[in-house]
């Protein structure tokens, strides 16, 4: 083996000194390896997880979790697939909350900014407690987003909530019964469907294809044998 190979080794605390920590899962104590994710700790404890698991990459929002670290009274939120356990941690997964999702036909909305108040009449009742923002594992300023939606600034909402994984952790904490993630999803979709320019070039391309602009080129390419195709492909840079 080359020298570089033996020299280039990263020290990792958790591997050099394998250390077990005690965590409390939904009220019961378990010993698990330090540094593994909350989901892996659940597996290590022998628990099958079907509800509360999805992409395992921090995008699907299935694994919303409440946790508390040792001696800290503050209950925090996280995505279980993205958070490492530490000694003394207490956690429990959050079941889906029965939030009401409004039903709408995106394409046919006539006055979508005004319609927000019929679809989600609770949206303007925000009492500014900021609990939603504190609950967001994606660090979105949720409270600000709700107000932006109420004041019709859907563009800002769509930008602020691009990180939203729809985990729903902002919902159970709302004292005004708002589901901020659903309000934001509505506002973002409206922004895209109703208040964003139609891309001219795309329309143009669709027409070109319909008009058969590429017909001859297709005919030429689809007739080529493997060698001819390979040659054309090789010329692409």
């Amino acid at each position: 083996m080359a020298d570089t190979d033996t020299q280039n080794v990263i020290d990792q605390e958790e591997v050099l000194r394998p250390k077990m920590v005690t965590v409390e899962i939904a009220g019961k104590k378990y010993e698990v390896p330090e540094g593994v994710t909350v989901i892996k700790a659940l597996w290590y404890a022998g628990q099958e997880v079907i509800r509360g698991i999805g992409c395992l990459g921090g995008f699907c929002g299935a694994c919303a979790t409440y946790y508390r670290t040792k001696d800290d009274p503050k209950v925090r939120t996280c995505l279980a697939c993205q958070t490492a356990v530490q000694d003394g941690m207490t956690f429990t997964m959050v079941p889906p909350f029965p939030a009401r999702k409004a039903i709408y036909n995106m394409v046919e909305l006539k006055d979508p900014k005004q319609d927000l108040f019929t679809l989600y009449p609770e949206a303007p009742l925000c009492r500014n407690c900021n609990a939603c923002t504190e609950a967001c594992p994606q660090k979105i300023d949720v409270r600000e987003g709700v107000w932006k939606a109420v004041f019709g600034d859907f563009k800002s909402v769509s930008e602020m909530f691009m990180d939203c994984v729809m985990c729903g952790l902002c919902v159970p904490v709302c004292i005004a019964d708002i589901a901020p993630n659903l309000v934001a999803l509505y506002a973002s979709r409206v922004q895209g469907a109703h208040f964003t320019e139609k891309p001219e070039r795309l329309e143009h391309r669709i027409k070109e294809i319909a008009d058969g602009k590429y017909k001859d080129e297709w005919a030429r390419v689809m007739k080529m044998n493997e060698q001819e195709l390979a040659k054309v492909c090789a010329e692409l840079k």
């Binding site: 570089t4 020299q7 280039n8 995008f59």
Partner: protein
């Protein structure tokens, strides 16, 4: 050694590397490299399939044993249907939602069954973008040729032509539903260049393209009130006894009961196989990626295609341990991020196709120029701070917020420190053979998305998966709805499963493996 000390070489060599241009490999060199280092060519990981439509063809052992596996459904199950519909869609990711929405729009009675929640899928994780030829310098034909080149010329030409030509219309559909693709100042769709593509063609929604599409499609499925069965896994297809698909048996994951669904047509949108951990590789795939659709359709007689080839995404996280298998988006390389070995050298054109880049990373590591972690893993550096040097401070945070967040949780600032990566099992290049309407060899059985095969050849280009999902989700949805309208509900039998069991006995290949597998067994049981 301390990770920061090891990283020094990346910082030290950065300026010299910036002046360097590395050519892409010539076709001959590329083939040699792949044959020598790509996991698809590790003979010992493969075996021939004993019987069934693909008998004699080789695939990885993990998949072969699932294809030859046993049904969990008792053969004397009462097949009186609990549900009846026109189109049963199995799978709640991008392809499943696109199929359900399009079939529903045609007036079909659609049911969507999924083993986790609606939207829990690989689609939701797609960060790189969606390839659609929209610029003046680009054309569907160029998109076709790029894809063919990337797929080692093995792509099904008809499937591919349809995909690239329907791309622009799909973009329009998604925009009409409110998907927020990134724009240029003039309002046109912004495009980025992806690995293996000759033109910038990637439509993006920052590095959340898949999430953005999935959020919208999920919401739309709910708005359209499409009948939804979550935590209900398809475990067997049903046939009329004459080779036509007529429905499926689902399993309610709560009470373990079997649910019989009579459907005039079935669309399998069950995704890939990452969670089989082929050859021991970590995976970027979601928890349910266990190739269920392959096993079920194989038992019914559908031919599979290109199932000996898999995509190993070049940049899976290797450090810290908690992120193992997680993806470091290709976007970083698209924007000029270098791959750097332990000696501080670049060793491949970072924008070459995924198979080439992965093979070269494996080569560096096999030949002793990798960086090891104490947990026995190995990798090379991806120079993320280079993006800040090239494009100014704040670039990484602005362009890759999801990535920054993922590493930040473990105290790593990717704008300042490079990250350690190694290929991770990412995509099943092949799958169930389909025609241009998504129909398999089995009548009224449609397959869409990653579960299908042929379109991508032997290597999928970055950004072509999201397009595949949408185009073939749509086409299978439309065709399944039309077929349901003109057809009638056939008998519900498990005769094909019995036939398959006979076949297994004949070949002395009776197995005690139950398939589909549904989930990997990660929970520690002693």
């Amino acid at each position: 050694m301390d990770i920061h000390k090891l990283q020094e070489i990346v910082h030290k060599t950065r300026d010299a590397r910036r002046k360097q241009t590395l050519p892409k490999y010539a076709p001959a060199e590329r083939d040699t490299l792949i044959k020598k280092h790509h996991p698809d060519f590790r003979e010992s990981a493969y075996r021939p399939i004993t019987f069934g439509p693909n008998a004699g063809e080789k695939t990885v052992r993990e998949l072969a044993s699932l294809l030859e596996g046993n049904s969990v459904v008792p053969m004397d199950l009462d097949l009186t249907p609990q549900y009846t519909c026109d189109v049963l869609v199995v799978g709640g990711g991008g392809a499943g939602c696109a199929a359900a929405l399009h079939a529903h729009a045609q007036g079909a009675k659609v049911m969507l069954a999924t083993k986790l929640r609606l939207g829990d899928s690989n689609t939701v994780m797609a960060q790189g973008g969606m390839q659609i030829a929209v610029t003046n310098e680009d054309s569907p034909v160029t998109h076709f040729l790029d894809t063919l080149k990337g797929g080692h010329m093995k792509n099904d030409h008809d499937l591919l032509k349809v995909m690239v030509e329907e791309g622009p219309a799909i973009a329009k559909w998604l925009l009409s539903l409110g998907v927020l693709f990134d724009r240029d100042a003039d309002g046109n769709l912004h495009v980025k260049k992806g690995g293996g593509s000759s033109k910038p063609r990637l439509l993006t929604a920052s590095d959340y393209t898949g999430l953005e599409i999935m959020r919208v499609l999920k919401d739309e499925v709910l708005n359209q009130k499409i009948q939804l069965l979550e935590f209900s896994a398809a475990v067997e297809l049903l046939s009329d006894g004459k080779g036509t698909c007529t429905g499926a048996v689902l399993r309610d994951l709560d009470n373990k009961r079997f649910l019989v669904v009579a459907a005039r047509t079935v669309i399998l949108a069950t995704g890939g196989i990452g969670r089989l951990h082929i050859q021991g590789f970590p995976t970027s795939n979601h928890f349910g990626a266990t190739g269920d659709g392959l096993a079920m359709s194989y038992r019914m007689g559908a031919r599979l295609m290109h199932i000996d080839t898999f995509q190993y995404h070049p940049s899976g996280a290797v450090y810290p341990e908690q992120l193992i298998g997680a993806l470091v988006t290709e976007g970083i390389r698209s924007e000029g991020g270098h791959l750097v070995n332990a000696k501080g050298e670049r060793f491949v054109n970072e924008l070459d196709t995924r198979d080439v880049v992965s093979s070269s990373i494996i080569r560096e590591c096999e030949e002793g120029r990798g960086i090891r972690t104490m947990s026995g893993r190995i990798g090379v550096w991806l120079d993320t701070p280079l993006l800040e040097a090239e494009q100014g401070e704040g670039t990484v945070n602005k362009h890759f917020p999801a990535m920054v967040r993922q590493y930040e949780r473990f105290g790593i600032n990717i704008a300042k420190d490079p990250v350690l990566i190694y290929p991770t099992l990412h995509y099943q290049n092949g799958g169930v053979k389909i025609d241009t309407h998504g129909e398999s060899d089995v009548k009224n059985l449609f397959v869409a998305g990653e579960a299908s095969g042929g379109l991508h050849g032997r290597n999928r280009l970055m950004g072509n998966s999201l397009l595949d999902l949408m185009v073939y989700g749509k086409r299978s949805g439309l065709m399944a709805a039309a077929r349901a309208k003109s057809g009638s509900q056939g008998r519900l039998t498990l005769e094909h499963v019995n036939k398959f069991k006979d076949e297994a006995r004949k070949h002395h290949a009776s197995s005690d493996v139950i398939s589909p597998m549904l989930f990997p067994a990660y929970a520690k049981k002693e």
